[in-house]
Symmetry: C2
């Protein structure tokens, strides 16, 4: 089901118009819509895989790296898992209509604060076709229309996915204009989306630090900043060796390419001789390259000398920076300087140090004695994840469906006026 | 107590640094700080009134209107009321540290979502010296440092107020750099404040629609948009005349200069002959000029013909626009087109129409049978008002102290790693 709109702005206006009816859909109607989308994606598997093959062919000719080709690839099992993900979102509780506060004024006016959809959610992301389906499903489940702008490398795949999803909406009697893509307008589409203040209510960028920075800087639409994680683990004087070693190795190697993986380990000086050699050895045993300062290099072998740049690097690979600091204060200073305010953890047996760290570190998630890999909507029990907000406005940390809603006050009176 | 910083950026960095200790202050320490500020303002009354006299003299020479001079004026009773307002904020409950959610993962990691201060709150506003004190008190009560940029017409008054407040903080052993003004850097100060992303955590503009538009457009710091109110009241077919008349007159005349006063009345056609004549007469009896469409003019006397511009005008004066519409759908269409999403109310005796209006109007506060003047932090029982948010991100409608906080997830484990 393709749209008749011929400009990015027209499509966004159609999404705005559609958001009115989508915002009023019942829980059941939204669930049925997502089930129809899942079926629609399954029925269109052939078309989607064929479109994806064209994108892949174009990517190969353009010299797209093997890793990016893999990220872009949709085969039949992957299409099936897209549909399954939509069904999971369908099963989540409806975040719209929740009563968040009630008050009765002295004069009897009854106030109710309820959760309402934002209206139109925009997303700018890279060439991961799964994001196209994820964001559309999450937006619709929370009663929003959606305007998508994925990477041009996935343009045909995204077009096929959007066509299947729009067809499913139409089949359910829901305005298909609730799902829009502006992929085919290239950079201009992204620019118009970022400037659509008053039409698009919130913009969620997903992807590299550079993509997010661009959106934050250029957008006049309110943005929820997600993602970049220069994540720290502090090994305190009293850290247990087994916890220190297991948590650092887990936080680095369990899935190195994601934002909640650790990038820098700070070891408090008096624990360095005890902890650095076995932790470095364990990391190396897991294939990790350690970029260490002079003290680390003096305590362990095969350490690459760290430069200042390492402290602000989000490797997203089997690399880790390690530095020895004088004390907890010095660790907090380092974090204040280099953290991206995503997740930091301290390994300590001193409850006062743990509580001080939890209180003073200014990040979305602050941990004591746990792996930073737990910063995740699924792990937190949200059932789905819109992204991980690293800003302080509206949402902070893993965002579930309820973070795609705003609020509205309803006031019911019987003729009251203000004195 | 004056600062040593010589640039706007240096001052903002000092505020950021101060926010670390201010954010950790206890409820009692913050209350004591506000009490000290109230006393400090009282002790400095002579200095403040003298500084204000210089601003007023400068304003008179520059041809400042009598209304603006009055808004700027601080005499002894007004200074006393500033101090009293600070004491009221001191008595409000501490919004920091509230536990907003708790979860325990299957592996035993304990999660707690707590309210934390934003860090540094910025505000750009016009030449109302009371805002200088209001915002500083609200920011400090919620554990934030504050950077103020008031109108240049109030520069000396603001400087005297800020000096008194900083002195009070120092006297309490609190870092006085937590209160900063960038007034003396003129437009450049405002520009630097709007670009201080990463230093200033949130910016709250207060003032005219134009000021707010400028801040929203030019700021890279996240903004909470407040204020502009093209507020509508719909008189439905079944509206009771007494409610219609009393609510429209109250919403227009009780305080015409504020954002929650009504600007446009939409009358459903079949009720127009019954409602328009007495409502217009009551408005005229209260000194209101009615700008009406042709139907309104044909039903009542002394109506000024309305032009299209009237539908989007926020008069903030004893003027009101009135239009007859075909039905509730037409009223909703008009509101969709012209509303600033602040407050709208319907007067109706039809419960289905009331509920439809409440569900479909996309504004911060939507009312049935009540005066729009109730959209107010004080009326809502918040005890203080930071402003009225007309955006959907983070806060919507009247903002209390808790809207000046963000959140943080704390995770406490015993060595857990992710499978």
């Amino acid at each position: 089901m393709t749209t008749t709109a011929t400009t990015a702005r027209e499509r966004m206006l159609l999404a705005k118009e559609a958001s009115r009816s989508v915002g009023l859909l019942s829980d059941t109607a939204k669930r049925d819509a997502l089930e129809a989308i899942a079926r629609g994606i399954e029925s269109a598997t052939g078309e989607i895989v064929a479109a994806n093959a064209e994108d892949l062919e174009r990517g190969r000719s353009a010299g797209l790296s093997v890793a990016l080709q893999d990220r872009l690839r949709l085969d039949e099992p992957r299409v099936a898992s897209l549909a399954a993900a939509v069904r999971e979102v369908a099963e989540l509780p409806d975040p719209v209509g929740r009563v968040l506060d009630t008050r009765t004024l002295a004069n009897g006016v009854a106030l109710t604060k309820v959760a309402v959809p934002f209206g139109v959610v925009g997303s700018i992301y890279e060439a991961r076709p799964n994001v196209t389906v994820d964001i559309a499903a999450l937006a619709l489940r929370s009663g929003n229309a959606v305007v998508l702008r994925g990477g041009t490398a996935a343009e045909r795949t995204n077009a096929a996915l959007v066509r299947a999803m729009r067809g499913a909406l139409a089949e359910q009697g829901i305005d298909p204009e609730a799902i829009q893509t502006v992929d085919d307008f290239g950079r201009e589409g992204a620019r118009e989306l970022m400037q659509a203040r008053g039409i698009v209510d919130v913009l969620v960028p997903r992807g590299s630090a550079q993509l997010i920075e661009t959106v934050v800087t250029e957008s006049s639409v309110p943005v929820i900043e997600t993602g970049a994680g220069v994540v720290h683990i502090v090994l305190d004087s009293t850290a247990r060796l087994d916890w220190a070693r297991d948590i650092v190795v887990n936080a680095k190697t369990q899935r190195p390419s994601v934002c909640n993986s650790v990038e820098t380990v700070l070891v408090v000086k008096d624990a360095a001789p005890r902890l650095v050699p076995p932790v470095v050895e364990a990391l190396r045993g897991s294939g990790v390259t350690v970029h260490g300062d002079e003290t680390v290099s003096s305590l362990a072998t095969d350490v690459v000398p760290a430069t200042d740049e390492d402290w602000s690097t989000e490797y997203l690979s089997l690399d880790i920076a390690m530095r020895v600091v004088d004390d907890l204060d010095a660790a907090l200073d380092h974090i204040r300087r280099y953290s991206t305010h995503h997740t930091e953890s301290i390994i300590t047996d001193d409850p006062a140090h743990a509580e001080r760290f939890l209180a003073e570190v200014d990040s979305a998630v602050v941990m004591a004695n746990a792996s930073t890999r737990f910063t995740d909507g699924g792990e937190f029990g949200f059932g789905a994840e819109v992204g991980i907000s690293t800003q302080k406005l509206h949402a902070r940390g893993p965002m579930g469906l309820s973070e795609l809603t705003s609020t509205k006050w309803l006031a019911r009176g019987v003729g009251q006026v203000r004195d």
